[in-house]
């Protein structure tokens, strides 16, 4: 007799771990790219607000993940592990961007404290509230911005964010809590 319960597709975490256990790192990477590629790209873009740079970092994250997969210890989920790699690459990109701007575009404010004005990609955003939120996010420090985005855009728990950032959950929770009033104020028009 056939079971009436439809078989669920395997969870990408399990599928990737099985591929890893077989030593098939390429297959594991393919699973991870299909499962988390889109979300990770969105995260990179929302942190940087630069499409080309986000594309580049997004690919670099998976290339590095492939190289580091043999050493993956399994202490966290592969998803948080990928976001951890992305965080490092994003911070590198921001540092390089900061140095570049300091050297060549001195008149322009630093990226961690940007003007808040709309960029080319944000021009598609019609809502004034969203534009204000984008500006408020851009005004946060990089650590806070990443933590807030992981919490509210990626839906991670504070434990997961702590793993991504290499910090205690309480620390990232406090960081997010400090950022929230500014974001709320932006949405309610307090900073406009």
């Amino acid at each position: 007799m056939h079971s009436s319960v439809a078989r669920l597709p395997p969870h990408p975490e399990d599928e990737a771990r099985e591929a890893l256990a077989r030593g098939d790192h390429r297959e594991a990477l393919t699973v991870l790219m299909q499962a988390y590629g889109r979300d990770l790209h969105r995260h990179c873009y929302q942190v940087l607000r630069d499409r080309d740079l986000a594309d580049d970092i997004h690919q670099t994250v998976f290339v590095q993940a492939y190289r580091d997969l043999p050493g993956f210890a399994g202490r966290s989920s592969l998803r948080t592990w990928l976001y951890g790699i992305a965080r490092h690459r994003l911070m590198d990109a921001m540092k390089i961007g900061t140095r570049w701007r300091r050297r060549f575009v001195r008149a322009e404010p630093l990226p961690d404290a940007v003007d808040g004005g709309p960029r080319a990609d944000d021009a598609l955003v019609d809502s004034g509230d969203v534009r204000a939120l984008v500006a408020a996010l851009a005004a946060l420090s990089l650590d806070s911005r990443i933590a807030v985005l992981l919490r509210f855009a990626e839906g991670m728990t504070f434990e997961e964010i702590g793993t991504v950032c290499g910090e205690k959950p309480a620390t990232v929770q406090a960081r997010v809590a400090r950022a929230l009033p500014r974001l709320r104020a932006a949405l309610s028009g307090g900073e406009r």
Binding site: G37, R38, H41, Y45, R51, F62, D129, V134, F152, S188
Partner: protein, 161 residues
Amino acid sequence: MSDLERGFEDLPGGGGPPEGWQDKVLARIETPATHARWPLVLAGSTLVAAAAAFALFFALRPAEKAPVPRRPAAAERAEAMFERLEGAVHGLVETKERAYGQLLQARTEAERALAEKALEDAKKQLEQVQGQLMKLRVRVPRVDGKIAVKCDPNDPLCAIE
């Protein structure tokens, strides 16, 4: 749903990754180290060249002359002289005692005169050698039990009388 949560839902997401991005990643992982290899090769060859130059420099450098062992040579010479004089003293003391014994056993005047002369000669030689030994003792200062000589080691009279 709060305004904040709605705001995050509406945040622009960059339109997703570009077409064919997975193929690009796979292409990048399948052509590893083409750019990562050349700095390694460059660093390695620089290191080898530096090591070769270093080795060549030391191989071709003229050998330095061994420093003249000033103090040990002079000290050894003084030590040898000291030992020779001490040996001479012991020998002359024996000669003197033998001559004295002959004098005591002399039966004739001729034997007595001969023994007396031998005794006088031995005494004179002994005094002379002892005098040299005393001067040598004064001239050779010792530091920590070793003879310390500060004169020119090429001087044949260095440290000895």
